[in-house]
Protein backbone atom coordinates (compact mmCIF):
# COMPACT_ATOMS: atom_id res chain seq x y z
CA UNK A 1 0.00 0.00 0.00
CA UNK A 2 1.49 3.38 -0.93
CA UNK A 3 2.50 5.79 1.83
CA UNK A 4 0.73 9.15 1.90
CA UNK A 5 3.51 11.11 0.22
CA UNK A 6 3.57 8.68 -2.69
CA UNK A 7 -0.21 8.80 -2.98
CA UNK A 8 -0.01 12.57 -3.21
CA UNK A 9 2.52 12.28 -6.04
CA UNK A 10 0.30 9.82 -7.87
CA UNK A 11 -2.70 12.16 -7.48
CA UNK A 12 -0.65 14.99 -8.94
CA UNK A 13 0.35 12.76 -11.83
CA UNK A 14 -3.30 11.84 -12.46
CA UNK A 15 -4.11 15.54 -12.74
CA UNK A 16 -1.34 16.04 -15.28
CA UNK A 17 -2.56 13.03 -17.28
CA UNK A 18 -6.09 14.49 -17.35
CA UNK A 19 -4.86 17.85 -18.58
CA UNK A 20 -2.86 16.14 -21.29
CA UNK A 21 -5.89 14.11 -22.41
CA UNK A 22 -7.94 17.31 -22.61
CA UNK A 23 -5.24 18.90 -24.76
CA UNK A 24 -5.42 15.87 -27.08
CA UNK A 25 -9.19 16.40 -27.30
CA UNK A 26 -8.38 19.91 -28.54
CA UNK A 27 -6.29 18.68 -31.48
CA UNK A 28 -7.98 18.59 -34.91
CA UNK A 29 -8.69 14.86 -34.56
CA UNK A 30 -9.98 14.95 -30.99
CA UNK A 31 -10.10 11.79 -28.90
CA UNK A 32 -12.28 9.26 -27.11
CA UNK A 33 -12.49 11.60 -24.17
CA UNK A 34 -14.98 10.05 -21.75
CA UNK A 35 -13.37 6.61 -21.65
CA UNK A 36 -9.87 8.06 -21.53
CA UNK A 37 -10.73 10.18 -18.48
CA UNK A 38 -12.45 7.29 -16.71
CA UNK A 39 -9.32 5.12 -16.59
CA UNK A 40 -6.75 7.73 -15.54
CA UNK A 41 -6.35 6.49 -11.96
CA UNK A 42 -6.19 2.87 -13.13
CA UNK A 43 -3.32 3.72 -15.48
CA UNK A 44 -1.55 5.91 -12.95
CA UNK A 45 -1.74 3.22 -10.27
CA UNK A 46 -0.37 0.58 -12.65
CA UNK A 47 2.34 2.61 -14.37
CA UNK A 48 3.26 4.69 -11.33
CA UNK A 49 3.48 2.00 -8.70
CA UNK A 50 2.05 -1.49 -9.25
CA UNK A 51 3.86 -2.59 -12.40
CA UNK A 52 7.50 -3.50 -12.72
CA UNK A 53 8.53 -1.30 -15.66
CA UNK A 54 11.37 0.97 -16.67
CA UNK A 55 10.48 3.86 -19.01
CA UNK A 56 14.11 3.93 -20.15
CA UNK A 57 13.94 0.23 -21.12
CA UNK A 58 10.31 -0.33 -22.18
CA UNK A 59 11.16 -3.64 -23.87
CA UNK A 60 13.07 -5.10 -20.93
CA UNK A 61 12.65 -8.86 -20.47
CA UNK A 62 11.83 -8.28 -16.80
CA UNK A 63 8.93 -5.94 -17.47
CA UNK A 64 5.34 -6.51 -16.51
CA UNK A 65 2.85 -6.17 -19.36
CA UNK A 66 -0.04 -3.77 -19.78
CA UNK A 67 -2.67 -4.36 -22.46
CA UNK A 68 -5.31 -1.69 -22.98
CA UNK A 69 -7.98 -3.86 -24.54
CA UNK A 70 -10.33 -0.88 -24.82
CA UNK A 71 -7.90 0.52 -27.37
CA UNK A 72 -10.13 3.47 -28.26
CA UNK A 73 -8.92 5.09 -25.04
CA UNK A 74 -5.54 5.51 -26.70
CA UNK A 75 -5.34 9.18 -25.67
CA UNK A 76 -5.57 8.10 -22.04
CA UNK A 77 -2.83 5.51 -22.41
CA UNK A 78 -0.54 7.78 -24.42
CA UNK A 79 -0.97 10.58 -21.88
CA UNK A 80 -0.29 8.24 -18.96
CA UNK A 81 2.80 6.81 -20.64
CA UNK A 82 4.05 10.32 -21.40
CA UNK A 83 3.55 11.48 -17.81
CA UNK A 84 5.30 8.27 -16.64
CA UNK A 85 8.44 9.16 -18.56
CA UNK A 86 8.12 6.93 -21.62
CA UNK A 87 8.21 9.96 -23.94
CA UNK A 88 7.81 13.71 -23.86
CA UNK A 89 4.23 14.98 -23.30
CA UNK A 90 4.82 17.91 -25.65
CA UNK A 91 6.01 15.51 -28.36
CA UNK A 92 2.75 13.60 -27.90
CA UNK A 93 0.62 16.72 -28.36
CA UNK A 94 2.67 17.72 -31.38
CA UNK A 95 2.62 14.33 -33.09
CA UNK A 96 -0.83 13.06 -32.11
CA UNK A 97 -2.38 12.03 -35.45
CA UNK A 98 0.31 13.92 -37.39
CA UNK A 99 0.98 12.40 -40.82
CA UNK A 100 3.33 9.45 -40.45
CA UNK A 101 3.36 9.56 -36.63
CA UNK A 102 3.02 6.50 -34.39
CA UNK A 103 0.26 8.16 -32.34
CA UNK A 104 -2.83 6.67 -34.00
CA UNK A 105 -6.37 7.04 -32.72
CA UNK A 106 -6.40 3.48 -31.45
CA UNK A 107 -3.46 2.04 -29.54
CA UNK A 108 -0.34 1.45 -31.62
CA UNK A 109 2.25 -1.11 -30.56
CA UNK A 110 5.02 1.09 -31.94
CA UNK A 111 4.50 3.48 -29.02
CA UNK A 112 7.10 2.87 -26.27
CA UNK A 113 5.59 0.87 -23.42
CA UNK A 114 2.94 -0.79 -25.60
CA UNK A 115 3.12 -4.50 -26.45
CA UNK A 116 0.08 -4.84 -28.71
CA UNK A 117 -1.99 -2.69 -31.03
CA UNK A 118 -5.60 -2.71 -29.88
CA UNK A 119 -8.85 -1.09 -30.87
CA UNK A 120 -11.04 -3.91 -32.04
CA UNK A 121 -12.71 -4.96 -28.80
CA UNK A 122 -12.44 -8.40 -27.26
CA UNK A 123 -8.82 -9.20 -28.11
CA UNK A 124 -6.84 -7.87 -25.15
CA UNK A 125 -7.80 -10.55 -22.68
CA UNK A 126 -6.91 -13.38 -25.08
CA UNK A 127 -3.56 -11.69 -25.66
CA UNK A 128 -3.10 -11.37 -21.90
CA UNK A 129 -3.90 -15.04 -21.37
CA UNK A 130 -1.29 -15.93 -23.99
CA UNK A 131 1.31 -13.70 -22.32
CA UNK A 132 0.60 -15.10 -18.87
CA UNK A 133 0.68 -18.71 -20.08
CA UNK A 134 3.74 -18.08 -22.24
CA UNK A 135 5.59 -16.46 -19.33
CA UNK A 136 4.65 -19.30 -17.03
CA UNK A 137 5.78 -21.94 -19.55
CA UNK A 138 9.16 -20.20 -19.55
CA UNK A 139 9.25 -20.11 -15.77
CA UNK A 140 9.12 -16.31 -15.73
CA UNK A 141 7.22 -14.34 -13.07
CA UNK A 142 6.26 -11.31 -15.19
CA UNK A 143 2.76 -10.10 -14.42
CA UNK A 144 0.12 -9.20 -17.00
CA UNK A 145 -2.52 -6.47 -16.60
CA UNK A 146 -5.39 -6.20 -19.04
CA UNK A 147 -7.84 -3.30 -18.97
CA UNK A 148 -11.25 -3.91 -20.56
CA UNK A 149 -14.24 -1.67 -20.79
CA UNK A 150 -17.61 -2.76 -19.44
CA UNK A 151 -19.29 -2.29 -22.82
CA UNK A 152 -16.50 -4.40 -24.28
CA UNK A 153 -17.62 -7.39 -22.22
CA UNK A 154 -20.36 -7.88 -24.80
CA UNK A 155 -17.73 -9.50 -27.02
CA UNK A 156 -17.95 -13.26 -26.54
CA UNK A 157 -14.22 -13.73 -26.99
CA UNK A 158 -13.69 -12.23 -23.53
CA UNK A 159 -15.66 -15.06 -21.98
CA UNK A 160 -13.63 -17.62 -23.91
CA UNK A 161 -10.46 -16.07 -22.53
CA UNK A 162 -11.87 -15.85 -19.00
CA UNK A 163 -12.61 -19.58 -19.06
CA UNK A 164 -9.13 -20.46 -20.33
CA UNK A 165 -7.42 -18.18 -17.78
CA UNK A 166 -9.40 -19.68 -14.90
CA UNK A 167 -8.85 -23.28 -15.97
CA UNK A 168 -5.11 -22.79 -16.28
CA UNK A 169 -5.05 -20.86 -12.96
CA UNK A 170 -3.16 -17.96 -14.48
CA UNK A 171 -2.46 -16.14 -11.22
CA UNK A 172 0.00 -13.84 -13.04
CA UNK A 173 -2.97 -12.29 -14.82
CA UNK A 174 -5.10 -9.38 -13.59
CA UNK A 175 -8.17 -8.21 -15.47
CA UNK A 176 -9.24 -4.65 -14.68
CA UNK A 177 -12.66 -3.58 -15.83
CA UNK A 178 -13.17 0.13 -16.34
CA UNK A 179 -16.81 0.05 -15.22
CA UNK A 180 -17.77 3.50 -16.45
CA UNK A 181 -21.28 2.47 -17.41
CA UNK A 182 -21.13 3.88 -20.91
CA UNK A 183 -20.56 2.58 -24.39
CA UNK A 184 -20.53 4.14 -27.84
CA UNK A 185 -24.27 4.45 -28.28
CA UNK A 186 -25.20 5.29 -24.69
CA UNK A 187 -25.43 3.81 -21.20
CA UNK A 188 -24.57 0.11 -20.90
CA UNK A 189 -27.64 -0.13 -18.70
CA UNK A 190 -29.92 0.50 -21.68
CA UNK A 191 -27.88 -1.26 -24.38
CA UNK A 192 -26.36 -4.40 -22.86
CA UNK A 193 -26.14 -4.24 -19.07
CA UNK A 194 -23.40 -6.18 -17.37
CA UNK A 195 -25.45 -7.29 -14.40
CA UNK A 196 -23.96 -9.28 -11.50
CA UNK A 197 -20.45 -8.85 -12.84
CA UNK A 198 -18.75 -9.76 -9.54
CA UNK A 199 -20.82 -12.90 -9.22
CA UNK A 200 -20.26 -13.89 -12.84
CA UNK A 201 -16.49 -13.42 -12.69
CA UNK A 202 -16.34 -15.31 -9.38
CA UNK A 203 -18.42 -18.11 -10.87
CA UNK A 204 -16.01 -18.29 -13.80
CA UNK A 205 -13.12 -18.71 -11.37
CA UNK A 206 -11.64 -15.22 -11.05
CA UNK A 207 -10.84 -13.85 -7.61
CA UNK A 208 -12.84 -10.64 -7.95
CA UNK A 209 -12.63 -7.31 -6.13
CA UNK A 210 -14.69 -4.19 -6.66
CA UNK A 211 -13.28 -0.76 -5.88
CA UNK A 212 -13.80 2.95 -6.51
CA UNK A 213 -11.81 3.33 -9.70
CA UNK A 214 -10.90 6.93 -8.96
CA UNK A 215 -9.49 6.13 -5.49
CA UNK A 216 -5.77 5.55 -6.01
CA UNK A 217 -5.38 4.14 -2.52
CA UNK A 218 -8.12 1.57 -3.04
CA UNK A 219 -6.88 0.70 -6.53
CA UNK A 220 -3.32 0.10 -5.35
CA UNK A 221 -4.58 -1.98 -2.46
CA UNK A 222 -6.64 -4.20 -4.76
CA UNK A 223 -3.95 -4.51 -7.43
CA UNK A 224 -1.23 -5.27 -4.88
CA UNK A 225 -3.16 -7.79 -2.80
CA UNK A 226 -1.19 -11.04 -2.46
CA UNK A 227 -1.37 -13.34 -5.47
CA UNK A 228 -3.49 -16.43 -4.99
CA UNK A 229 -3.81 -19.45 -7.22
CA UNK A 230 -6.37 -18.01 -9.62
CA UNK A 231 -6.45 -15.01 -11.94
CA UNK A 232 -7.74 -11.78 -10.45
CA UNK A 233 -10.39 -9.34 -11.63
CA UNK A 234 -10.67 -5.80 -10.32
CA UNK A 235 -13.88 -4.05 -11.17
CA UNK A 236 -13.10 -0.35 -11.03
CA UNK A 237 -16.27 1.72 -10.67
CA UNK A 238 -15.57 4.85 -12.67
CA UNK A 239 -17.31 7.77 -14.34
CA UNK A 240 -17.06 8.52 -18.01
CA UNK A 241 -15.46 11.92 -18.32
CA UNK A 242 -14.29 11.88 -14.68
CA UNK A 243 -12.45 15.00 -13.51
CA UNK A 244 -14.04 17.31 -16.05
CA UNK A 245 -17.13 18.94 -14.48
CA UNK A 246 -18.35 20.34 -17.81
CA UNK A 247 -18.92 16.77 -19.04
CA UNK A 248 -21.19 15.82 -16.16
CA UNK A 249 -24.33 14.18 -17.45
CA UNK A 250 -23.30 14.54 -21.06
CA UNK A 251 -22.39 11.91 -23.56
CA UNK A 252 -18.68 12.39 -23.98
CA UNK A 253 -17.61 9.24 -25.77
CA UNK A 254 -15.75 11.25 -28.39
CA UNK A 255 -14.91 14.93 -28.32
CA UNK A 256 -13.15 17.52 -30.42
CA UNK A 257 -12.70 20.69 -28.35
CA UNK A 258 -12.41 24.15 -29.83
CA UNK A 259 -10.15 26.75 -28.22
CA UNK A 260 -12.87 28.08 -25.94
CA UNK A 261 -13.84 24.59 -24.75
CA UNK A 262 -10.19 23.83 -24.09
CA UNK A 263 -9.82 27.01 -22.04
CA UNK A 264 -12.93 26.22 -20.00
CA UNK A 265 -11.89 22.61 -19.53
CA UNK A 266 -8.41 23.45 -18.31
CA UNK A 267 -9.76 26.24 -16.07
CA UNK A 268 -12.24 23.84 -14.50
CA UNK A 269 -9.35 21.49 -13.76
CA UNK A 270 -7.54 24.26 -11.92
CA UNK A 271 -5.04 25.16 -14.59
CA UNK A 272 -4.21 28.83 -14.96
CA UNK A 273 -4.73 30.02 -18.50
CA UNK A 274 -3.65 33.22 -20.13
Amino acid sequence: MPPNEELELLRERAKRVRRLIVRLAATPSGCHLGGSLSLVEILVALLGRVMRIDPRAPGSAERDHLILSKGHSAAGLYAALAESGFFDPEELVRKYNADGSIFTGHVNSQVPGVDFSTGSLGHGLGLGVGLALGRRMRGEPNRVYVICGDGELGEGSNWEAIQVAAHHRLSQLTLIIDRNGGQNDGPTESILPQAALVERLEAFGFHTLEVDGHDLHALCEALEAPTGTSPRAVIARTRKGAGLPMLRGKSAHYAIFNAEQLRRALASMGEKTR
Binding site: F116, H123, L127, V129, L131, L133, R138, E160, V164
Partner: protein, 345 residues
Protein backbone atom coordinates in the same frame (compact mmCIF):
# COMPACT_ATOMS: atom_id res chain seq x y z
CA UNK B 1 -2.37 -42.48 -35.03
CA UNK B 2 -0.14 -45.47 -34.58
CA UNK B 3 3.10 -44.32 -36.15
CA UNK B 4 5.93 -43.72 -33.77
CA UNK B 5 8.20 -40.98 -35.05
CA UNK B 6 10.90 -42.06 -32.64
CA UNK B 7 11.54 -45.51 -34.09
CA UNK B 8 12.52 -46.70 -37.57
CA UNK B 9 13.88 -44.23 -40.14
CA UNK B 10 14.31 -40.69 -38.82
CA UNK B 11 11.59 -38.40 -40.14
CA UNK B 12 13.96 -35.42 -40.22
CA UNK B 13 16.96 -36.92 -41.97
CA UNK B 14 15.13 -39.52 -44.08
CA UNK B 15 11.62 -38.21 -44.79
CA UNK B 16 10.94 -40.58 -47.67
CA UNK B 17 12.16 -43.57 -45.68
CA UNK B 18 9.94 -42.56 -42.77
CA UNK B 19 6.93 -42.14 -45.08
CA UNK B 20 7.56 -45.57 -46.61
CA UNK B 21 7.60 -47.01 -43.12
CA UNK B 22 4.28 -45.30 -42.29
CA UNK B 23 2.25 -45.61 -45.48
CA UNK B 24 -1.24 -45.25 -44.03
CA UNK B 25 -0.98 -41.74 -42.61
CA UNK B 26 -3.05 -38.85 -43.93
CA UNK B 27 -1.34 -35.53 -44.51
CA UNK B 28 -2.76 -34.07 -41.34
CA UNK B 29 -1.34 -36.98 -39.35
CA UNK B 30 1.98 -36.53 -41.11
CA UNK B 31 1.96 -32.88 -40.04
CA UNK B 32 1.53 -33.87 -36.40
CA UNK B 33 4.35 -36.37 -36.47
CA UNK B 34 6.61 -33.98 -38.38
CA UNK B 35 6.01 -31.16 -35.91
CA UNK B 36 6.64 -33.53 -33.00
CA UNK B 37 9.97 -34.54 -34.49
CA UNK B 38 11.12 -31.06 -35.50
CA UNK B 39 10.22 -29.69 -32.06
CA UNK B 40 12.93 -31.99 -30.67
CA UNK B 41 15.51 -29.70 -32.22
CA UNK B 42 13.73 -26.36 -31.67
CA UNK B 43 12.67 -25.61 -28.12
CA UNK B 44 10.74 -22.47 -29.12
CA UNK B 45 8.02 -24.52 -30.84
CA UNK B 46 4.67 -24.53 -29.02
CA UNK B 47 1.42 -26.17 -30.18
CA UNK B 48 -2.06 -24.92 -29.29
CA UNK B 49 -5.23 -26.85 -30.07
CA UNK B 50 -8.90 -25.92 -29.84
CA UNK B 51 -10.42 -29.29 -28.93
CA UNK B 52 -9.76 -30.88 -32.32
CA UNK B 53 -6.46 -32.59 -31.64
CA UNK B 54 -8.12 -35.98 -31.77
CA UNK B 55 -6.95 -38.78 -29.54
CA UNK B 56 -3.31 -39.66 -29.06
CA UNK B 57 -1.69 -36.56 -30.48
CA UNK B 58 2.04 -37.38 -30.71
CA UNK B 59 3.08 -33.81 -29.90
CA UNK B 60 1.00 -33.74 -26.72
CA UNK B 61 2.53 -37.05 -25.66
CA UNK B 62 6.11 -36.09 -26.45
CA UNK B 63 6.14 -32.39 -25.48
CA UNK B 64 3.37 -31.95 -22.89
CA UNK B 65 5.03 -28.84 -21.44
CA UNK B 66 4.75 -27.12 -24.84
CA UNK B 67 1.22 -28.24 -25.66
CA UNK B 68 -2.06 -26.71 -24.54
CA UNK B 69 -5.58 -27.63 -25.57
CA UNK B 70 -7.51 -24.42 -24.89
CA UNK B 71 -10.94 -25.91 -25.54
CA UNK B 72 -13.52 -24.78 -28.07
CA UNK B 73 -12.08 -21.24 -28.14
CA UNK B 74 -10.62 -20.60 -31.60
CA UNK B 75 -10.61 -16.83 -31.19
CA UNK B 76 -8.79 -16.96 -27.89
CA UNK B 77 -6.38 -19.59 -29.19
CA UNK B 78 -5.21 -17.22 -31.91
CA UNK B 79 -4.96 -14.17 -29.64
CA UNK B 80 -2.96 -16.33 -27.21
CA UNK B 81 -0.73 -17.51 -30.05
CA UNK B 82 0.03 -13.91 -31.00
CA UNK B 83 1.08 -13.12 -27.44
CA UNK B 84 3.19 -16.26 -27.10
CA UNK B 85 4.95 -15.45 -30.37
CA UNK B 86 5.57 -11.96 -28.96
CA UNK B 87 7.60 -13.65 -26.20
CA UNK B 88 9.78 -15.40 -28.80
CA UNK B 89 7.96 -18.69 -29.32
CA UNK B 90 7.23 -20.26 -32.70
CA UNK B 91 3.56 -20.94 -32.17
CA UNK B 92 1.68 -23.59 -34.15
CA UNK B 93 -2.09 -23.54 -33.83
CA UNK B 94 -4.35 -26.20 -35.24
CA UNK B 95 -8.04 -26.63 -35.86
CA UNK B 96 -10.39 -27.33 -38.78
CA UNK B 97 -10.13 -24.86 -41.66
CA UNK B 98 -13.66 -23.41 -41.44
CA UNK B 99 -13.25 -22.56 -37.74
CA UNK B 100 -9.63 -21.47 -37.89
CA UNK B 101 -9.83 -19.36 -41.02
CA UNK B 102 -13.33 -17.98 -40.65
CA UNK B 103 -14.62 -17.99 -37.06
CA UNK B 104 -11.29 -16.61 -35.87
CA UNK B 105 -10.78 -14.47 -38.96
CA UNK B 106 -10.31 -11.17 -37.15
CA UNK B 107 -7.91 -12.78 -34.69
CA UNK B 108 -5.84 -13.89 -37.67
CA UNK B 109 -5.92 -10.39 -39.05
CA UNK B 110 -5.04 -8.60 -35.81
CA UNK B 111 -3.11 -11.33 -34.00
CA UNK B 112 -1.11 -12.76 -36.90
CA UNK B 113 -1.03 -10.57 -40.00
CA UNK B 114 -0.89 -7.05 -38.55
CA UNK B 115 1.90 -7.72 -36.00
CA UNK B 116 3.61 -10.15 -38.41
CA UNK B 117 3.60 -12.69 -35.60
CA UNK B 118 5.44 -15.99 -35.83
CA UNK B 119 2.21 -17.90 -35.67
CA UNK B 120 1.42 -20.81 -37.96
CA UNK B 121 -2.24 -21.65 -38.34
CA UNK B 122 -2.39 -25.19 -39.68
CA UNK B 123 -5.86 -26.31 -40.65
CA UNK B 124 -7.15 -29.58 -41.96
CA UNK B 125 -10.64 -30.10 -43.43
CA UNK B 126 -9.59 -27.79 -46.27
CA UNK B 127 -11.97 -27.62 -49.25
CA UNK B 128 -14.73 -30.23 -49.29
CA UNK B 129 -12.70 -32.85 -47.46
CA UNK B 130 -15.14 -32.71 -44.55
CA UNK B 131 -17.61 -34.09 -47.15
CA UNK B 132 -20.69 -35.57 -45.48
CA UNK B 133 -20.24 -33.44 -42.35
CA UNK B 134 -21.69 -30.69 -44.52
CA UNK B 135 -20.89 -27.07 -45.41
CA UNK B 136 -20.36 -26.11 -41.74
CA UNK B 137 -17.25 -28.29 -41.99
CA UNK B 138 -16.17 -27.31 -45.50
CA UNK B 139 -13.71 -24.49 -46.23
CA UNK B 140 -14.05 -23.23 -49.78
CA UNK B 141 -13.32 -19.55 -49.10
CA UNK B 142 -10.35 -19.74 -46.72
CA UNK B 143 -7.56 -19.14 -49.23
CA UNK B 144 -9.27 -16.10 -50.74
CA UNK B 145 -9.77 -14.55 -47.32
CA UNK B 146 -6.27 -15.18 -46.01
CA UNK B 147 -4.56 -14.28 -49.26
CA UNK B 148 -6.05 -10.80 -48.94
CA UNK B 149 -4.33 -10.15 -45.61
CA UNK B 150 -1.08 -8.19 -45.93
CA UNK B 151 1.98 -10.15 -44.91
CA UNK B 152 0.31 -13.56 -44.74
CA UNK B 153 2.03 -16.54 -46.30
CA UNK B 154 -0.47 -19.12 -47.57
CA UNK B 155 0.50 -22.74 -48.23
CA UNK B 156 -1.42 -25.71 -49.61
CA UNK B 157 0.85 -28.76 -49.85
CA UNK B 158 -0.02 -31.53 -52.29
CA UNK B 159 1.00 -34.74 -50.57
CA UNK B 160 2.55 -36.29 -47.52
CA UNK B 161 6.14 -35.56 -48.42
CA UNK B 162 5.34 -31.97 -49.24
CA UNK B 163 3.42 -31.57 -45.98
CA UNK B 164 6.41 -32.89 -44.10
CA UNK B 165 8.86 -30.63 -45.93
CA UNK B 166 6.57 -27.62 -45.56
CA UNK B 167 6.30 -28.24 -41.82
CA UNK B 168 10.09 -28.25 -41.66
CA UNK B 169 10.20 -24.98 -43.61
CA UNK B 170 7.76 -23.39 -41.14
CA UNK B 171 10.14 -23.89 -38.23
CA UNK B 172 12.71 -21.45 -39.61
CA UNK B 173 10.32 -19.13 -41.43
CA UNK B 174 9.79 -15.58 -40.20
CA UNK B 175 6.23 -14.26 -40.25
CA UNK B 176 2.63 -15.48 -40.10
CA UNK B 177 1.60 -18.54 -42.13
CA UNK B 178 -1.63 -20.32 -42.96
CA UNK B 179 -1.13 -23.92 -44.07
CA UNK B 180 -4.14 -25.74 -45.41
CA UNK B 181 -4.42 -29.51 -45.38
CA UNK B 182 -7.19 -31.90 -46.35
CA UNK B 183 -8.73 -34.58 -44.25
CA UNK B 184 -8.91 -37.86 -46.11
CA UNK B 185 -6.29 -38.48 -48.69
CA UNK B 186 -3.23 -40.57 -48.26
CA UNK B 187 -1.74 -38.93 -51.29
CA UNK B 188 1.66 -39.58 -52.73
CA UNK B 189 2.75 -37.82 -55.86
CA UNK B 190 4.88 -39.81 -58.25
CA UNK B 191 6.96 -36.77 -58.97
CA UNK B 192 10.63 -36.15 -58.36
CA UNK B 193 11.34 -33.31 -55.95
CA UNK B 194 14.41 -31.57 -54.77
CA UNK B 195 13.27 -30.12 -51.49
CA UNK B 196 10.65 -27.50 -50.78
CA UNK B 197 10.93 -23.75 -50.84
CA UNK B 198 8.16 -21.43 -49.71
CA UNK B 199 7.15 -19.19 -52.62
CA UNK B 200 8.78 -21.27 -55.33
CA UNK B 201 6.41 -23.35 -57.45
CA UNK B 202 7.37 -26.76 -58.79
CA UNK B 203 6.97 -27.79 -62.39
CA UNK B 204 5.99 -31.46 -62.12
CA UNK B 205 6.03 -32.13 -65.84
CA UNK B 206 6.77 -30.12 -68.97
CA UNK B 207 4.33 -29.68 -71.84
CA UNK B 208 3.42 -27.25 -74.58
CA UNK B 209 -0.31 -27.33 -75.39
CA UNK B 210 -1.81 -26.75 -71.97
CA UNK B 211 -0.42 -25.36 -68.71
CA UNK B 212 -2.24 -26.57 -65.61
CA UNK B 213 -1.45 -24.74 -62.38
CA UNK B 214 -2.78 -26.46 -59.27
CA UNK B 215 -2.39 -26.67 -55.50
CA UNK B 216 -3.27 -28.98 -52.69
CA UNK B 217 -3.97 -32.65 -52.28
CA UNK B 218 -6.92 -32.70 -54.66
CA UNK B 219 -5.86 -30.03 -57.12
CA UNK B 220 -2.45 -31.41 -57.97
CA UNK B 221 -3.63 -35.02 -58.02
CA UNK B 222 -6.47 -34.17 -60.39
CA UNK B 223 -4.17 -32.06 -62.57
CA UNK B 224 -1.69 -34.91 -62.98
CA UNK B 225 -4.44 -37.38 -63.83
CA UNK B 226 -5.92 -34.96 -66.38
CA UNK B 227 -2.47 -34.46 -67.90
CA UNK B 228 -2.03 -38.23 -68.22
CA UNK B 229 -5.38 -38.54 -70.02
CA UNK B 230 -4.58 -35.59 -72.28
CA UNK B 231 -1.26 -37.17 -73.23
CA UNK B 232 -3.19 -40.19 -74.57
CA UNK B 233 -5.03 -37.75 -76.86
CA UNK B 234 -1.76 -36.27 -77.99
CA UNK B 235 -2.09 -33.11 -75.93
CA UNK B 236 1.09 -32.11 -74.22
CA UNK B 237 0.52 -30.68 -70.74
CA UNK B 238 2.70 -28.74 -68.35
CA UNK B 239 1.73 -29.26 -64.71
CA UNK B 240 2.79 -26.77 -62.05
CA UNK B 241 2.36 -27.36 -58.33
CA UNK B 242 1.70 -23.91 -56.86
CA UNK B 243 1.98 -25.03 -53.23
CA UNK B 244 2.44 -21.41 -52.10
CA UNK B 245 -0.53 -19.20 -52.96
CA UNK B 246 1.12 -16.23 -51.34
CA UNK B 247 3.68 -14.96 -52.07
CA UNK B 248 2.71 -16.05 -55.56
CA UNK B 249 5.43 -17.34 -57.88
CA UNK B 250 4.51 -15.06 -60.77
CA UNK B 251 7.65 -15.96 -62.72
CA UNK B 252 6.47 -19.55 -63.02
CA UNK B 253 3.01 -18.39 -64.12
CA UNK B 254 4.53 -16.17 -66.82
CA UNK B 255 6.82 -18.99 -67.88
CA UNK B 256 3.87 -21.38 -68.12
CA UNK B 257 1.91 -18.83 -70.17
CA UNK B 258 4.87 -18.41 -72.47
CA UNK B 259 5.44 -22.11 -73.02
CA UNK B 260 1.85 -23.31 -73.43
CA UNK B 261 -1.25 -22.48 -75.43
CA UNK B 262 -3.90 -22.53 -72.71
CA UNK B 263 -3.75 -21.71 -68.99
CA UNK B 264 -5.87 -23.75 -66.58
CA UNK B 265 -6.10 -23.63 -62.80
CA UNK B 266 -7.31 -26.60 -60.76
CA UNK B 267 -8.05 -26.32 -57.05
CA UNK B 268 -10.34 -27.48 -54.29
CA UNK B 269 -11.47 -23.95 -53.49
CA UNK B 270 -14.10 -21.58 -54.78
CA UNK B 271 -13.22 -20.37 -58.29
CA UNK B 272 -13.37 -16.85 -56.82
CA UNK B 273 -10.34 -15.49 -55.05
CA UNK B 274 -8.17 -18.58 -54.73
CA UNK B 275 -5.47 -19.75 -57.12
CA UNK B 276 -7.78 -19.15 -60.09
CA UNK B 277 -8.21 -15.55 -59.03
CA UNK B 278 -4.52 -15.13 -58.28
CA UNK B 279 -3.43 -16.45 -61.69
CA UNK B 280 -5.98 -14.20 -63.45
CA UNK B 281 -4.63 -11.21 -61.53
CA UNK B 282 -1.07 -12.01 -62.58
CA UNK B 283 -2.03 -12.64 -66.21
CA UNK B 284 -3.97 -9.36 -66.41
CA UNK B 285 -1.39 -7.36 -64.51
CA UNK B 286 1.30 -8.44 -66.94
CA UNK B 287 -0.96 -7.71 -69.91
CA UNK B 288 -0.73 -11.20 -71.34
CA UNK B 289 -4.23 -11.03 -72.83
CA UNK B 290 -4.65 -14.74 -72.25
CA UNK B 291 -7.61 -16.86 -71.35
CA UNK B 292 -7.47 -18.62 -67.97
CA UNK B 293 -9.83 -21.56 -67.39
CA UNK B 294 -10.60 -21.75 -63.68
CA UNK B 295 -11.59 -25.19 -62.46
CA UNK B 296 -12.67 -25.36 -58.83
CA UNK B 297 -15.68 -25.17 -56.58
CA UNK B 298 -18.54 -23.56 -58.48
CA UNK B 299 -19.41 -20.75 -56.07
CA UNK B 300 -22.00 -22.77 -54.18
CA UNK B 301 -22.37 -24.70 -50.94
CA UNK B 302 -22.88 -28.46 -51.06
CA UNK B 303 -25.82 -29.10 -48.82
CA UNK B 304 -26.21 -32.74 -49.74
CA UNK B 305 -24.51 -35.78 -48.26
CA UNK B 306 -21.92 -37.78 -50.10
CA UNK B 307 -18.33 -38.89 -50.21
CA UNK B 308 -15.52 -36.44 -50.80
CA UNK B 309 -15.10 -37.80 -54.33
CA UNK B 310 -18.83 -37.47 -55.01
CA UNK B 311 -18.82 -33.80 -54.01
CA UNK B 312 -15.68 -33.11 -56.05
CA UNK B 313 -17.29 -34.66 -59.15
CA UNK B 314 -20.13 -32.17 -58.85
CA UNK B 315 -17.63 -29.38 -59.40
CA UNK B 316 -15.74 -31.10 -62.20
CA UNK B 317 -12.80 -31.83 -59.91
CA UNK B 318 -11.84 -35.15 -61.45
CA UNK B 319 -9.05 -36.07 -63.84
CA UNK B 320 -11.39 -37.18 -66.62
CA UNK B 321 -13.70 -34.18 -66.29
CA UNK B 322 -10.80 -31.74 -66.23
CA UNK B 323 -9.30 -33.37 -69.35
CA UNK B 324 -12.67 -33.12 -71.10
CA UNK B 325 -13.10 -29.48 -70.11
CA UNK B 326 -9.63 -28.68 -71.42
CA UNK B 327 -10.39 -30.46 -74.72
CA UNK B 328 -13.45 -28.24 -75.08
CA UNK B 329 -11.41 -25.12 -74.39
CA UNK B 330 -8.49 -25.79 -76.67
CA UNK B 331 -8.41 -23.62 -79.79
CA UNK B 332 -10.41 -25.33 -82.56
CA UNK B 333 -7.67 -25.45 -85.19
CA UNK B 334 -5.65 -27.48 -82.75
CA UNK B 335 -8.47 -30.02 -82.38
CA UNK B 336 -9.02 -30.16 -86.11
CA UNK B 337 -5.34 -30.71 -86.61
CA UNK B 338 -5.41 -33.51 -84.09
CA UNK B 339 -8.43 -35.28 -85.53
CA UNK B 340 -6.93 -36.81 -88.68
CA UNK B 341 -3.85 -38.06 -86.89
CA UNK B 342 -4.88 -41.35 -85.25
CA UNK B 343 -1.27 -42.25 -84.72
CA UNK B 344 -1.06 -39.72 -81.91
CA UNK B 345 -3.83 -41.20 -79.84
Amino acid sequence: MTANPMTGPDLASDPQGWLNENPGLSNRQIFRHALTRFAEDESRVVLLEADLAGGGDPFAARHPERFRNVGVCEATMLDMACAMAHLGNIVFTHTFAPFGAMRACEQIRLGMAYPRANVRLVCDYGGLSGAFFGPTHHAIEDLAILRAMPGMTVLSPADGLETLLATRALIDFDGPVYMRLGRNRVSRLEAPRDGFEIGRARCLQEGTDVGIIAHGEVGVGVALEAARLLETRGISTRVVNMHTLKPLDEATILETAERTGLLVTVEEHNVLGGLGGAVCEAVCEHGLGRRVVRIGIQDRYDATAGSHEFLLLGHGLDGGLVAQRIMECLPRPRLVALAPDPGRS
